[in-house]
Amino acid sequence: MKPDISTQVGAIKIERPTMLASGILGISLEVFDRLYKDGAGALVTKSLSKEPWEGYPNPTVVGVKTGYLNAVGLSNPGAPYFAKMISLNKTVPIIVSLVGSIPEDFDFMIKQFENVKILGYELNLSCPHVEKVGLEVGDDPELVHKIVKSVKSKSQVPIIAKVGLGSSDYLETVRVACESGVDAITAINTVRAMAIDVETTRPILSHKIGGLSGPAIKPIAVRCVYEISSKFDVPVIGCGGVSSWEDAIEFILAGASAVQIGSALVDKWVSVFSEINNGISKYMEKKNFSKIKEMVGIAKKF
C-alpha cells in the first residue's frame, strides 16, 4: 500500500506535509492555486499588516554562499485588501500570516478574515528586520502573552506562532505562547545576518541587516524543532533550509509534523513541492511507515 503523506498539525489537516513558507510568493490567490496544484500542502501568506506596506528599497535580497539574505521589509497589501482578494477562495488551503505590534492590530486583522475560508493564522513573532514587530514582539514575553491570548479568544481557526532566534531565549517565547493558548509553533524564521561588498565597502542590503535563510540555517532549525518538541506538548512545523526530501524527513524525525519551504524555490522552482513529497513517500515505503505521524520525533528516543 502506498504510504499516506497527509498530516495533521494540531487541528490543521493537510493533504501533504510541504507548505509554502511565509514571505515567499504569497501575494496572489492565483499563485497560491498554482502552487497547491504543484504539490504544496498549504500556503502561508506573506505577513499581513493593518495597512499596506511598501517594504524597503532594493537591494532586498542577495545570495550568499550557503543561502539567501533578505530584508524585504514585510511588504504586503494590508489585511483588508488581502482578505477581499481571497474572499472567493474555496479550495486552496491558506494559512494567513499576521504581523503587528499590539493586540489591537491583530484584532483588527482577524475581523477582516471572519468570513473567509482559511486553515488558520500564523503569528509572525520573529521577522528579524522590521522595528516594533516580529522579533521585537517575540522577545517580549508579556506582549506575546497579550497578543496570543487576544487572538485565541477571537479566532475561529487554529493559531500558529512562528518563532525565531532573537535576543531572548526563544524557548521562553514558545513557553509563553503555549501557555497563552497557541495551537502550534513554526520554527524558525530567518536568522539575523549581514553581507558587505568588499569592492564598494558597503553593506549590500538597503536595510544593511537582514535575515539568513537556506541550507546555512537548517541545522539550527532542526535543533530548535528538536528542543521545542522535547520540552513542550505542542505540534511543530519545521522551517529553515528545507531543500530536499532528506531535509524534510530530518525535520520530521526531530519532531515536526510538517515543513515549510522558501529559499529552495530559487533552485528548484515550483517543482520543489512534488519532488519532496515524492521523496518522503518513497522513504516511507522503504522504511515501512504508513503515516507521517509514525515518524514525528522518533529521533528523540535515542
Partner: protein, 270 residues
C-alpha cells in the same frame, strides 16, 4: 573564485553613449552578461540608491555589455547620471528568452523596450527577412535606428520609425503601421517589448492572424529570482516564468494590458 550569480559582481562604467536627451547607454566589461540570451535581464545595484531590473543591452565590443536607461524615477535617474569610472553591482542573468524563429520576422519596440529586441537581432540568421518597427512620441526620442540597420546590413531588412507627432519617419502609432504590414506580408514570427498597452495591441494583431508572437513584460521586481513574489502576474512570475511569454498565454492572462502591482503588491490599472 566561482561567481555567485545571486550576489552583485561590481563592474565599472567604461563608456557612456547619449542616445536621446533622456536616454543613455552605459557600457561595462562583463563576460557573463555579454553573452546573455535576448530577453534576459540583470539586477543592477546602484550603491546607496536602489537596485533595478535592466534588460541587458549588447555592446559591439567583445566581453562587454551595457544598460540603456531612460531617466524617469529616482533610481533610473541615478543610474542615468552615473559618470565614467563609477561602479554598479550586477547579478544575474535572470529570466527566460525569446524563442528564435526563422523566416519573415517582425519586431515591434517602444522606448527602452528596444533593448531585448536589438539583442534578438544579433541572434537572427542572415537568411531571415527582418522588419523592425521603432515607436516613439517624437523625433528627438528616437534611438537605435542606425545600430539596427548596421546589425541587419547583411539581411534583407527594413527599419521603420514611427513617431506619434509625425516629426520623423511615419506618423501615428506603431501598431497602426504594424496592422498595415500584416495585411501585406505573411510574417513567421512577431516579437515585442515596450509599453504594455502597445504590446497588448501587438499580441492581439499577431494572434488574429495566427502568427507566433512573444512579448517581454515588465513588472515591479525586488528579488529577481522567483521568491519575493513582487512581480506576480496572474499565476506566473515575470522574473521567473518570463519575462518572455507567448501571445497565446498572454491573452488568457487577465492582468495583461490592464493591471500591474505596486510595491505593496496591490493591483493598479495601467
Amino acid at each position: 573564485m566561482q561567481r555567485n550569480f545571486d550576489a552583485p559582481t561590481i563592474v565599472t562604467i567604461e563608456k557612456i553613449i547619449d542616445e536621446t536627451p533622456t536616454v543613455r547607454t552605459l557600457v561595462f566589461s562583463d563576460e557573463v552578461l555579454s553573452n546573455v540570451l535576448p530577453g534576459q535581464f540583470a539586477m543592477v545595484w546602484i550603491p546607496g540608491i536602489n537596485e533595478l531590473p535592466m534588460s541587458v543591452m549588447i555592446s559591439q565590443e567583445k566581453g562587454k555589455a551595457a544598460f540603456t536607461v531612460r531617466k524617469h524615477g529616482v533610481a533610473s535617474t541615478e543610474l542615468y547620471s552615473l559618470k565614467l569610472g563609477q561602479q554598479v553591482g550586477v547579478r544575474g542573468p535572470y529570466g527566460n528568452s525569446f524563442t528564435v524563429k526563422q523566416g519573415k520576422i517582425l519586431l515591434v519596440g517602444g522606448g527602452t523596450g528596444l533593448v531585448p529586441l536589438i539583442r534578438l537581432l544579433t541572434f537572427l540568421k542572415k537568411t531571415d527577412d527582418v522588419t523592425l518597427l521603432i515607436g516613439s512620441k517624437t523625433k528627438n526620442e528616437v534611438f537605435f535606428e542606425k545600430m539596427a540597420n548596421q546589425i541587419l546590413e547583411h539581411n534583407k531588412h527594413q527599419v521603420i520609425v514611427v513617431t506619434e507627432d509625425g516629426s520623423y519617419g511615419k506618423s501615428g502609432l506603431v501598431t497602426q503601421v504594424m496592422e498595415n504590414l500584416l495585411s501585406e506580408t505573411k510574417f513567421d514570427a512577431v516579437y515585442t517589448c515596450g509599453p504594455e498597452k502597445m504590446m497588448y495591441k501587438v499580441v492581439q494583431l499577431a494572434s488574429s492572424k495566427n502568427i507566433h508572437v512573444q512579448a517581454s513584460i515588465e513588472r515591479m521586481m525586488k528579488c529577481g529570482m522567483g521568491i519575493c513574489g513582487s512581480c506576480c502576474f496572474g499565476e506566473v512570475l515575470a522574473c521567473r516564468d518570463g519575462t518572455v511569454f507567448d501571445g497565446k498565454y498572454l491573452l488568457t492572462n487577465k492582468e495583461f494590458g490592464y493591471t500591474h502591482r505596486n510595491k505593496a503588491g496591490m493591483l493598479e490599472n495601467y
